[in-house]
Amino acid sequence: MEDIGNLFHGFSVVLQPYNIVLMVVGIVLGVIVGVLPGLGGANGVAILLPLTFSMSPTSAIIMLSCIYWGALFGGAITSILFNIPGEPWSVATTFDGYPMAQQGKAGEALTAAFTSSFVGALFAVIMITLVAPLVASFALRFGPAEIFSVYFLAFCSFVGLSKEPPFKTVASMMLGFALGAVGLDQMTGQLRLTFGFETLLTGFDFLIAVIGLFGIGEILLTMEEGLSFRGKAAKIDLKVVINTWKELPRYWMLYLRSCLIGCWMGISPAGATPASFMSYGIAKRISKHGKNFGKGEIEGVIAPETAAHAAGTAALLPMISLGVPGSPTAAVLLGGLLIWGLQPGPLLFTEQKDFVWGLIASMYMGNIVGLIVVLTCVPLFAAILRIPFSVIAPIILVLCAIGAYTVHNNTFDVVMMLVFGVVGYFMKKTNYPLAPMVLAIVLGDKAEESFRQSLLASQGSLGVFFSNALVSTIMTLGLIALFWPMIQAGLSRLRGGVKGPRTAA
């Protein structure tokens, strides 16, 4: 196999001492970037891109992709410790990660999250190594209708998941759609719902909403409840890692499913965020412990983290082979490629072997180095929870404000973040779930865009969503997911056993 030979050549490039140092530096920078909410992988890579201009393209991409891995790892830390997702795809991690931290199991949650990230990424890299060309042609089959069906499936697998009353879930989701619609309408080039305010041109950025709703809202709640973290101080030693590892192999089926979901979403390219939500939703449906989801179930951390990382890694493949970035960070990396005079596209694999296989080898090594770096820091991260709330709260507030500002370099966003914080506080007090709103803001306008693109192409016929095997299958899966509670109830009634009240959809 020529490719395997190339891969080993790639390893030999990556394992030069200089490149290993770059890797560690990249991972550390990436973790910092990922921890700061709002800064995000894309911004982080963009800021650090100039550092790499003087390096060789291979060294540069090693460092930048390690920043990317670091950011993917780092996003989970604040989600679990403070209920503040550092990255969009970490939102689903908060659902169970934060309750675990509150129960004094922050170490377990962090270990599970990091390990899952690693497994997801490794699975995706192996897939890239073995089937890259196949996968690239699969990605080509995704037109607007297919992409919409993927979003549809993401929404459907998430509806009816929350403990809150279904009408509150719907209300929250609809509010999210409305907020997501503000700004420029991509399809007609018209401004919507800006009421003549120039500051609303950009719409409501998902990150601002998340930082406010989760971060600020959480701090307000904690303040009300007596200025102390509800979390018990976590045990601080590395045994936690070993003990958690002993448990993880039990969930191999969950891992496999989450990896597959993640790879698929990364390639299609819907991205890591829908992957994490979809994986969480499906895990909750299927798991025996489905009822415990949201209360600190370790499976609720594994599912979204594995899928997010598989997706984040797989997203690099369409970037290399088609020149289409599967994520915002991949878009910045793409810009980097062009600056180094490399042309992403179908020929990159044949024309720039050193580079491509160096990149793939760095995916393997970067993830291993990343896992070691973050795991050794688990006790350190968990220890943060021992700092008194009165000290840490102002720091979090400042970090949130910086994060909100960096998204668009706009002071108005900081104000918006505070407004969202108050909204989040009241929604929590009145038991309106936040997650559906967040999901609607982040995926609403993309789903709308591909929906309208499909209808434009089909002259308004809805038949386009069932026009070929691929799109019909995904749509049908979505419908099944949507009506699953009813189907389940129907099935159990057929069997004659009425097993208690069914959950509403």
Binding site: L184, Q190, G323, L334, I339, L347
Partner: protein, 338 residues
Amino acid sequence: MSATSKVLTFGVAACVGGAFALSIAPAKAWEPTHPIEIIVPAGTGGGADQMARTMQGIITKHNLSKQSVVVINKSGGAGGEGFLDVKNSKGNAHKLIITLSNLFTTPLATGIPFSWKDMTPVAMMALDEFVLWTNAEKPYKNVKDYVAAVKAAPDNTFKMGGTGSKQEDQIITVALEKATGKKMTYIPYKGGGEVAVQLVGNHVDSTVNNPIEAVAHWRAGKLNALCVFDSKKLDYQEKIAGDKAWGDIPTCKSEGLDVEYLMLRGFFMAPGVKPDEVAYYVDMFKKVRETPEWKDLMKNGAFNTTFMVGDEYAKWVASAEKLHEGLMKEAGFLAKTN
């Protein structure tokens, strides 16, 4: 200070900033005192973004400025966010904005209040070309067959993919409709790279991608380049797609499609900046143009390398604005509030 040569060239500029000249020695050109921001009124990874980031790399690598350069994307409201930011930074000599056609189309289509006259023109770096692309599997391999296929299809069934709505790609599409007398369906996507892939995947029938957005697929034999929307053939003779060079693509006009369109890749600064501040950047851009990295970028993207500064540039922009106003009015793209 390595500024003596600049002072010779731009002595006039220094005199205009007279009040300045009193406090500082007379022979001292302006230099930036803190990091320079380049605003990109478009998303990451697009043509303008690539150019800005390449320049950032060139300026850093060749030490063309004592201050670092920061690239910031402000893409909200079809770029309106970025333009308003510059418009509202009166007198700020550390802020540049790179333009694409949304300099003209965004205010016309959305009514967002700005115009190029609210800013200070610095320099035209290049003009971006547009090429008519089709999927290589399709039976039409030249403009004549293409036009025949468009005409043969029922109204609105021929699909044209493009970037954004009521922007350059759709303007060209409307012009093509006029030239062929047939209505197509225009499907807007977020970025040029995505549009090219949709064409490779056969989800649209043709596109008018910039060369740099589609070149990888052209070279892989997935796309055909039918014609270029310029008055003359492209300047690049190197064989890059099999036996074809950029220079081999015929002009659309010569093939009977009388449509021409070029897109500005140029720089503006905030209003109210001093002439010697503008002169500093003009000088820096001239040095950027001499670097091998810049020449590579021009070659990869088959750019038209016209360079303009000062009045000549302002005049070009003014006439381009008129052109867009006419085209957009004809297409019915003007905002209702205008």
